[in-house]
Amino acid sequence: MMRCTWILAVLLCATPTARAQEEDHGRNAPAVLRMLQPHTAPLADSVATVLSNDAPVALATVVDSKGLLVTKASELVGLLSCSFGDGRTLPARIVAQDAGFDLALIAVEAKDLVPIRWDAADLAVGRVVASSGAAGRPLALGIVGVAPKTVLGGRGRLGVVLSFESQGAVVARVNADTAADAAGVQIGDRILAVDGVPVATRREATDAIRKRRAGESLRLTLGRGDEMVLAKLSLGRGSRERRARRSELQGEQSSVRAGFPSAFQHDTALLPEQCGGPVVDLRGRAVGLNIARAGRVATYAIPGSRVQALVEGLREGH
């Protein structure tokens, strides 16, 4: 009885004020964000919100005044537009993509955007960083937890179900929105070889594909009727339904959150739709681009120097 009363008393009198106090004391308290403001504010005209069918799915960072931005490729589905700090919302289209980094170059009809200048600053562990939201609003503070390195992907997935009735590897189903779907694999196709190495059975085909990680590219030799078809594809992370976006303790995560050739890990708590924007250091330099929220303790960002090289590559290739 005593104990019950005591707990109740604590709940009644302590909870609301304790909450408010904790928010004031938190790492992203209003006072902290106000301090970061001067460092992200100069990016006001360089960060836009990407809308997919009018819902925000990512941020995009301006890389060319004539309407080019970079953003997170895997979030781009449906009708795309970019909403800018000055109130404009412009239709956007995908120009080029890098599957490994999950980076996309998108274009809008504009001539007066303010491109960001990427910085090749040293990203040592402990470096304090701020993530910019749309219109240069500081989202949150963090520190570099792991210096840039390869973030290995999970097991690569083709996105097909193979027939159990056949000795060979015969496609019985192609899941929507997967690597196989994108490469035009069809029901009834027989997988004859993986990267030129012949596979005779269902087991051999699965073994050959399972060894590969998400993001890796693959050549499939398919038998379709009397024809032989070559399919080039980049292994995915499985169908959308398969990817759990949320687990209780990990929180909201990006669907594509691994398999990056180079990324640094920081501890800034972002929402998946806050990826695609720049990370600045305490001198206001754009040292990276947030590419994935990967659980409770990790956000991955591509180092600034890599983003610059990737953007140049994507523009040339286009």
């Binding site: 904790e22 004391h25 006072a31 792991v146 390195k149 305490l282 409770r296 303790v297 990790a298």
Partner: protein, 314 residues
């Protein structure tokens, strides 16, 4: 800590954009402190594997004594593997701990010259102070050094220290530091909210040190001060009644004394007093700091055991 907060507040008071704004200077100092904490913290942070459990720990002596969480070691006398920040894998043996407070120890076998951090003397922790965590989220991974994270202290009044420094499974047992580089906690548990992370405060390691070293495992204690009718206050625990012949009476404490510290560990509530006593045993001699008529005094006190029939004293 307090000075850093002062910096933040000062910086906010000068939002004007000069060539070198004052807040930038302060943030640069902040940056330097975080990096200097990690310089010492990272090499002393280890990965721990006991049976099927993966956790973290922190070296507190050059000859391989590691502080961790009780739920990581799962009992004394077990074989453990320890993964140093430099990639070495060493064999260790688990020692004791307080299961209720989740404090535990282990010792790496036959080793010397390891990097370590010291366990600081008792000091006050203020909500709002910044802190830095290291550990191995998801368990030790080869080629990945201990992962650094930042946060602030949210609550110091509970059984655990609460921060918004994000940790997750595998970090358990890893260290939390203030920006002076003091070891202030060991990661223990989390709630769904990313801002609800709980760390074992250092009090339990300081008070239970010898018992842990000796491989003792415990969750509670019969140790009593021999006081009753207490009231929590901002300055400490106000004592209403002193029980005849019990330890507080023998030590010379009087009604209306305000209990402030036990062995230097601050006491602000009866709950905290109980948690501190959980690491001590009847017969232990402790130093009590108390306030009498606004004057701070100290005395030695030998803890009593339970009161025989209806003992509801503390």
């Amino acid at each position: 800590m307090i000075s850093l907060l002062a910096c933040l507040v000062l910086a906010l008071a000068h939002p004007a954009a000069h060539d070198t704004p004052p807040e930038l200077e302060d943030l640069a100092r902040f940056q330097a402190r975080v990096e200097s904490v990690l310089e010492a913290a990272s090499p002393a942070t280890v990965g721990v594997r006991v049976g099927g459990t993966s956790g973290s720990g922190v070296l507190v002596s050059s000859d391989g004594l590691v502080l961790t969480a009780a739920h990581v070691i799962g009992g004394a006398g077990r074989t453990a593997r320890v993964f140093l920040a430099d990639g070495r894998e060493l064999e260790a043996e688990t020692l004791g701990g307080n299961g209720m407070r989740d404090s535990g120890m282990l010792r790496i076998k036959n080793v010397s010259g390891l990097p370590f951090v010291s366990v600081p003397a008792p000091h006050e922790l203020e909500p709002g102070s910044w802190c830095v965590a290291t550990g191995h989220p998801g368990g030790y991974v080869e080629d990945r050094p201990p992962v650094a994270r930042l946060g602030r202290i949210l609550d110091t009044s509970g059984l655990f220290l609460k921060t918004d420094c994000p940790v997750i499974g595998g970090d358990s047992g890893g260290p939390l530091f203030d920006l002076e580089g003091n070891l202030i906690g060991i990661h223990s548990r989390i709630e769904e909210d990313v801002a609800s992370n709980y760390h074992v405060p250092m009090t339990t390691y300081r008070l239970g040190w010898k018992r842990m070293l000796a491989g003792e495992e415990w969750t509670r204690s019969d140790a009593k001060l021999g006081v009753r009718r207490t009231v929590d206050s901002a300055t400490g625990v106000w004592i209403g009644e002193i029980l005849d012949g019990r330890s507080a009476a023998v030590a010379g404490l009087r009604p209306s004394d305000i209990l402030r510290r036990i062995n230097g560990e601050p006491v602000r509530s009866l709950r905290q007093l109980r948690w501190l006593l959980s690491d001590l045993r009847p017969g232990d001699e402790i130093e009590v700091t108390f306030l009498r008529a606004r004057e701070t005094r100290r005395c030695a006190l030998t803890l009593s055991g339970p009161l025989a029939p209806t003992g509801d004293d503390k």
